[in-house]
């Protein structure tokens, strides 16, 4: 249609309106007697309708207000009356000349009105209905009090377990042990030394249940005032009274917890940094120790960058949730541990699970996704896609077949999120984790590698390594990084020392610490009577600068011969001192001397040894386990899981199985003096696949052959006491 006509019409409408307004104006001005306006302005406009105005002119001189108003109103009234007719005239002419325009415009207007009105109408309707159906205030009060009195559940009461697919024997039933049978759960560790855990002394405390533990606490409160240093002195004297057990329980593969060098590092760092960091990383909680350990770790693992979290579990959780968002796709091994699974849940991405460590099933799932892609013509680049696996599975002790998974991931173009919390520092020749175990590299084969520093590395916290993009993104999006206080700097230093230990550069680090010498700085206002300092001073006798007399005194003190020349005396004293120093340290700190690949080799030897002993058919104690407990973990895994064999498990409910295993672990602890963990009673509601109840043993480097013998003997005895003699039970079953 022609635009010119439309403009013409608009112009016409405007002209008409303008003319009418002008007329009113002129009329008004006449009423006020200002004839000037009438004369000055274009008189022609008035031609058509001038009679009315002119007729009213004579009154203007004698005008009174009512009259003036009346005329004003009549004019306005007339004008408004004429508006519709004029509009109709304009509209009809428009309709004639440009019908399409009119149609469109009308439709638009109708739509607008409809939208506005209909919207409101439904709203009203909704509200009215709500009001009609709503309970009265009295009824509401009744409902509320009823709910409060009867329907409300207590906080901390049994939670209905929802979700979580259960497979495997007896997996379907939800076992809820009212009386926690985990004997070790209430054990309180008082000291860790070598491969041994020392518990708080006293039989009552050993068997203290969680309910009575608070009474124990009350007793402790009174002794809080006594400083811990005095109590530590006591414990060293009472060592014989303290029940101890060989540690097969904590994930402390490299025995970092009993390493004296690491403790020294911790002390040194504490002296410099104090304890806490008092802020999140963003707000002055970044301390140079954090940057240092991030650098060290990224270079150790041959990654571009690393990011440090203050908690291992939240590292896993936050890493997954930082990258996968709604609409993305996660293919997850169903055996992943809780923290990783929470990350998967929080990401709100689409999740598909594949069977634990089952590459075939993974392929099936991946192909299914690919088939769906083809069906709906979705490109793989439309969606971020990740495979989520663990390196060494915490709950199974199995090692992920990463080589095959990497092949699949490259074939189907997925990125790999690897949680190596339990494999880092124990798998691979240099302890670089599962990737090294398979000869793979971070970033190239696994885009995102996250792991906890709490297991092998003896620190607290977690890390994620990857390329710069991966790491930098988490610095803004990793919830556990952004919104949580950073790790205490001394823990970062401990982690750094652990990394150096794995690299075999521990000596350099210790030299630095010695160079700094801040460990020995004694604050002025408090006299530090650290027993370690005193001990250190004792064997650092400066024999080179001693006089002969002093040398003799020193030698006599130690019951050595005092004859000979000065050099001989010095030599003798020196030999003795170094020998005793070694004697003192050899028991506990031989581990400290190991570092780098040697350390890992020791660990792998220990793993192999334990595995061989357990499966040795000619071993008298291992024989007792035969056909009753089976090993379900990977032969190279330092985390060893035992479960009841099929023969034993059949005919027993899961509850019974758990209590048998609990009894075994309790027996091991109390009689065999070996700490192992029975995992059956653990909470299950956070897991996708609930593992079968089992016994968990963790190998560490400080365990000796005797320790392993003790473990196997304790296990054998425990199994016999819990399940009865093998021959007997065989007879009964027959």
């Amino acid at each position: 249609m022609t635009g010119g006509k439309f403009t013409q019409h608009v112009h016409d409408l405007g002209y008409l309106t303008g003319r009418s307004l002008h007329r009113v104006l002129v009329r008004l001005s006449t009423l006020y007697g200002d004839n000037q306006l009438l004369e000055d302005h274009d008189i022609n406009i008035l031609e058509g309708d001038s009679s009315f105005i002119l007729s009213s002119l004579p009154f203007s001189t004698t005008s009174s207000t009512p009259l003036l108003l009346r005329t004003l109103f009549s004019t306005l009234f007339q004008f408004f009356l004429s508006l519709p007719s004029r509009y109709i005239a304009w509209w009809t002419s428009l309709l004639h000349s440009d019908p399409l325009h009119v149609l469109v415009e009308t439709l638009l207007i109708v739509m607008c009105i409809a939208l506005v009105l209909l919207q409101r109408r439904t709203d009203w309707k909704f509200r009215m209905e709500r009001k009609k159906g709503a309970p009265t205030v009295e009824e509401e009060e009744e409902l509320i009090s009823e709910w409060k009195m009867e329907k409300r559940m207590a906080l901390g009461a049994a939670v209905v377990v929802v979700g979580g697919r259960r497979r495997g024997r007896g997996g379907g039933e939800d076992v809820r042990l009212e009386e926690k049978s985990l004997g070790e759960s209430t054990l309180i560790v008082d000291k860790i030394e070598g491969s041994k855990l020392f518990f708080v002394s006293g039989d009552s405390k050993l068997s203290a249940s969680s309910s009575s533990s608070s009474e124990l606490g009350v007793a402790e409160v009174s002794t809080i005032a006594g400083s811990s240093s005095s109590s530590s002195n006591d414990t060293s004297e009472q060592n014989s009274n303290i029940p101890s057990a060989i540690n097969f329980a904590t994930f402390d593969y490299l025995s970092s917890s009993s390493s004296h060098t690491l403790r020294k590092v911790a002390k040194h760092a504490l002296a410099h940094y104090g304890c806490g960091s008092c802020g999140p990383r963003g707000f002055y909680g970044t301390i140079d120790a954090h940057l240092e350990v991030e650098d060290a770790m990224s270079s150790f693992l041959h990654a571009d960058a690393a990011i440090l979290y203050s908690d291992g579990a939240s590292a896993s959780t936050s890493t997954v949730a930082a990258f996968a968002k709604r609409g993305d796709l996660l293919i997850v091994d169903e055996g992943v541990h809780e923290a990783l699974l929470v990350g998967v849940t929080l990401s709100r991405a689409n999740v598909r699970y594949f069977r634990h460590n089952n590459v075939k099933d993974l392929r099936r799932v991946l192909e299914k996704v690919a088939a769906q892609d083809a069906l709906i013509q979705r490109k793989p680049t439309d969606q971020r896609r990740f495979l989520v696996v663990e390196g060494l599975y915490r709950n199974y002790g199995t090692i992920c077949p990463l080589d095959e998974i990497v092949k699949l991931k490259e074939e189907f173009h997925y990125r790999l999120i690897l949680d190596d919390s339990y494999g880092m520092g124990c798998l691979g020749k240099n302890g670089r984790g599962t990737l090294e175990h398979y000869g793979l590299r971070p970033m190239r084969h696994a885009e995102i590698v996250t792991f906890s520093l709490e297991n092998a590395l003896g620190s607290v916290g977690g890390m994620t390594v990857g390329n710069e993009e991966v790491v930098d993104h988490q610095r803004l999006s990793g919830a556990g990084y952004c919104f949580s206080a950073s790790a205490p700097p001394f823990l970062s230093k401990v982690c750094l020392a652990s990394v150096r230990r794995l690299e075999g550069k521990m000596d350099e680090m210790m030299k630095e610490i010695k160079g700094g010498g801040e460990d020995d700085v004694v604050p002025k206002d408090r006299n530090l009577s650290e027993s370690t300092a005193a001990a250190a001073g004792d064997w650092e006798v400066n024999y080179n600068e001693m006089t002969v007399a002093n040398l003799k005194i020193e030698l006599k003190k130690r019951g050595l011969g005092v004859t000979g020349r000065k050099a001989e005396l010095q030599e003798r004293l020196k030999d003795f001192l170094t020998a005793t120093a070694n004697d003192d340290k050899s028991a506990s700190t031989s581990i400290d001397e190991l570092s780098g690949p040697a350390l890992l080799e020791r660990l792998h030897q220990n793993v192999g040894h334990l595995y061989r002993t357990l499966t040795n058919p000619s071993h008298p104690h291992a024989l007792k386990l035969r056909n009753r407990l089976v090993i379900t973990s990977h032969p190279q895994s330092p985390v060893i899981y035992l479960r009841l064999s099929d023969d034993e498990a059949i005919g027993r409910t899961q509850h019974e199985q758990i209590s048998i295993l609990d009894r075994i672990s309790h027996y091991c602890l109390t009689v065999g003096k070996v700490a192992i963990v029975s995992t059956g009673g653990h909470v299950k509601r956070y897991l996708q696949l609930v593992p079968e109840p089992g016994l968990r043993m963790v190998v560490n480097v400080s365990q000796t052959l005797e320790d392993v013998e003790m473990l196997v003997k304790a296990l054998g005895d425990a199994v016999e006491s819990a399940l009865g003699d093998a021959a007997e039970s065989a007879l009964i079953s027959q």
Partner: protein, 689 residues
């Protein structure tokens, strides 16, 4: 003169008054009371050091003074009442100021010697009382009847001179802020387009190069965007690249010291236009001698023992509320070092297995007795405590009603729990009541089954607002409707209340009425980790069922010892008064700083007695400018931008510590005054800042 109808104020020491909100009034009055109608709060615990004023006056050995006869307390109370109202007007009113001085002479002369804030004590206390009466006890003094002209005028002054604690963003600021973002975004897009055209740029990832060279160094299979979706979505990535990286130097500043009152901020440089920041290190790393000289000439230039360049700054950003980072050597060092004799820095096992040491149990007993609960559970990380406790307490079929400004950890925990989540307006108990009422009456959506449990989650101090929780009303409402209360005291424990027992103590709520008390040790205690305290039955359940206890590794024993040592100091069990001194100093420092900031005409959020004070900046450009200007002047401040706060509400946040001295704060205030002029920040005074 005794004016009972006008002195409808509450007596400090009345335990009866503590039980109700604002209904009971005490008719007691004192000799010099001329009827100033400021209602005064009731003391929460009659046994605790009773008046907030009492607790702050004495910095040393004042406990005896505090717990002396009630009669004197009443007298001073009445005087303070007068002072509180007249002082509020004092800022504008010379006459009032004159009178004020008189009052202060009478009441506070005795302590002037050791009180660094003696000259402003009156006003600080009055302001703190005002905020407390408003936000804790909800008494509106304006409704009091008046029969004296003089008093009336004073009351009017009081009303006028009282700035509203809820600042709205001015239209000018809103427009310029939006404009700022528009400019930034448009510029960013232009730069992106240019980078694409010229195939060059900091962020230009050469996707096409993979075709020419199959495996260039630094290139990984997943960089091939023909097969992989980009790892980062465009907007997130755009925000990071074009907005965040521009001001990256204001965040994540590394320090080379303890987070004490004076920190050494490591100098950083960027060689790629702020894309990455690297620590400068030694001065010799600089090639240009002129620049090196300019560093050396800097007023706050310093070096670490190994030669790295640092800037000595006053720390206004760390959560070192009680200053344990400052005097760590005196207060905690010995015991913390001693803990390493027997125990390692990490046990490597979960709490449920072998991760419980004597120290963990000790911390738990102390925490339980400190906050007034039967038992407590200590977990490794504050964030994780929330994120694992809430899913253990609630499950599908439960309802979590959460304050809209709650911390991410609470949000994460609530989301992971599977429970339904509703939010109520920040600190609005009536909105909470409405939501609870409707939830109970209508039950679960669709099925209309009743909710199994309703858990109301609030925080003690909101870390981005500096406001304390409206706990009294929240608890009243929750009790009425039978909802459980979960109080996150991450920032308030150890920092609020006369003895540092947190929000409950401050607001006078019985800890028994709060079902779950959660808190962290990162802030006031200079440690790490979090606790949850509740009835023994609940804690026993949590120990068994909570992922943080069953799966996650336990807190470092060394940190446990740090917590124990700091608790001993706070509770005075170390045999010194350091703890109470710290608490008093924290309160005084923060009230003084807040008062002076408000006087400057800045938009200061939050309430008196809270150590966190956000100052509104609004404009995105001012975030960086403020931070850089402050750093230049030797102040380490925290600025907060978009992801953490709403896009319009960029702010700077000061966290005051007991380790600060008045001289340091005065210096900071002087510098801030300059910066405020420079950046036009006085939004409370004028629309245009």
């Amino acid at each position: 003169m005794c004016n009972t109808n006008t002195t409808k104020s509450k007596q400090y020491l009345s335990p009866v008054a503590a039980s109700t909100l604002a209904n009971t009034y005490d008719d007691s009055c004192s000799s010099d009371n001329d009827g100033v109608p400021t209602p005064l709060p009731a003391s929460p615990h009659s046994s605790a050091p009773p008046s907030p004023r009492g607790s702050v006056i004495g910095s040393l050995g004042d406990n005896a003074n505090i717990s002396t006869a009630t009669a004197t307390a009443t007298t001073t109370t009445a005087a303070a009442k007068k002072a509180s109202s007249s002082l509020l007007a004092a800022h504008d009113d010379d006459d009032a100021r004159g009178r004020l001085r008189l009052v202060s002479k009478i009441n506070y002369s005795r302590r002037e010697g050791d009180d660094p804030y003696a000259d402003v004590r009156e006003r600080m206390e009055a302001l703190s009382l005002r905020d407390k009466s408003r936000h804790v006890y909800h008494c509106q003094s304006e409704t009091q009847p008046q029969d004296d002209d003089d008093e009336g005028s004073e009351k009017n002054n009081f009303m006028v001179a009282t700035p509203s604690s809820h600042h709205e963003i001015t239209i000018f600021a809103a427009i310029t802020t939006y404009l700022g973002y528009v400019v930034l975004i448009v510029t960013g897009h232009i730069r992106d387009v240019c980078a694409n055209i010229f195939r060059k740029g900091r962020y230009f990832r050469s996707q096409s190069t993979t075709a020419t060279t199959p495996n260039p160094p630094g290139h990984y299979p997943s960089d091939d965007f023909t097969k992989y979706a980009p790892l980062l979505k465009s907007w997130e990535n755009f925000y990071t690249r074009r907005l965040y990286h521009r001001i990256q130097d204001c965040f994540n500043r590394p320090i080379a010291s303890r987070p004490s009152a004076i920190i050494s901020v490591l100098e950083r440089v960027s060689f790629d236009g702020n894309k990455t920041m690297s620590v400068l290190g030694k001065l010799s790393n600089l090639e240009d001698e002129k620049i090196a000289l300019s560093y050396q000439m800097g007023q706050h230039y310093d070096t670490t023992p190994d030669g790295r360049v640092v800037r000595k700054c006053l720390n206004l950003g760390s959560y070192n509320y009680l200053g344990f980072a400052d005097d760590w050597d005196v207060t905690c060092r010995k015991d913390v070092m001693g803990s390493l004799d027997n125990l390692p820095s990490s046990v490597g096992s979960s709490r449920l297995e072998f991760g419980t040491t004597t120290l963990h149990r000790r911390v738990e007993t102390i925490v339980a007795s400190f906050v007034g609960k039967e038992d407590a559970l200590v977990l490794n990380m504050g964030f994780n405590t929330n994120a694992t406790i809430i899913p253990t307490l609630t499950a599908r079929g439960d309802l979590i009603v959460s304050d809209e400004l709650n911390h991410t950890s609470i949000v994460n925990g609530a989301r992971a729990s599977g429970a339904a989540i509703r939010t109520f307006r920040h600190n609005d108990a009536s909105n909470l009541e409405f939501i609870l009422r409707e939830a109970i009456v209508y039950g679960q959506p669709r099925t209309r089954r009743p909710w199994n449990r309703i858990l109301v989650v609030v925080e003690g101090i909101y870390s981005m607002e500096g406001e304390y929780c409206n706990l009294r009303n929240v608890v009243t409402v929750c009790k009425k409707y039978g909802a459980y209360v979960y109080l996150d005291e991450a920032h308030s424990i150890g920092a609020m209340g006369p003895t540092g027992r947190g929000c409950c103590e401050y607001t006078g709520v019985d800890p028994a009425d709060v079902d779950i008390l959660m808190g962290t040790f990162t802030k006031s205690f200079g440690g790490m980790g979090g606790y949850v305290a509740a009835d023994r039955r609940i804690i026993a359940e949590l120990r068994r069922e909570c992922a943080g206890s069953a799966y996650h590794n336990s807190l470092s024993p060394v940190v446990c010892q740090q917590i124990i040592s700091s608790f001993q100091v706070i509770m005075g069990k170390d045999g010194t008064l350091i703890g109470s001194q710290k608490l008093n100093a924290l309160r005084d420092n923060s009230n003084y700083f807040r008062m002076r900031l408000t006087d400057m005409g800045l938009h200061v959020l939050g309430n008196y007695d809270s150590p966190i004070m956000p100052v509104m900046l609004y404009n995105p450009t001012k975030i960086a400018a403020f931070s850089r200007e402050c750093l230049k002047r030797g102040l380490a401040v925290v600025v907060v931008g978009f992801p953490a706060v709403p896009i319009l509400m960029s702010r700077a946040r000061f966290c005051i510590s007991a380790g600060h001295t008045r001289e340091e704060l005065d210096r900071a205030l002087k510098e801030l005054d300059e910066v405020a002029d420079l950046l036009k920040l006085r939004y409370a005074r004028s629309t245009f800042g």
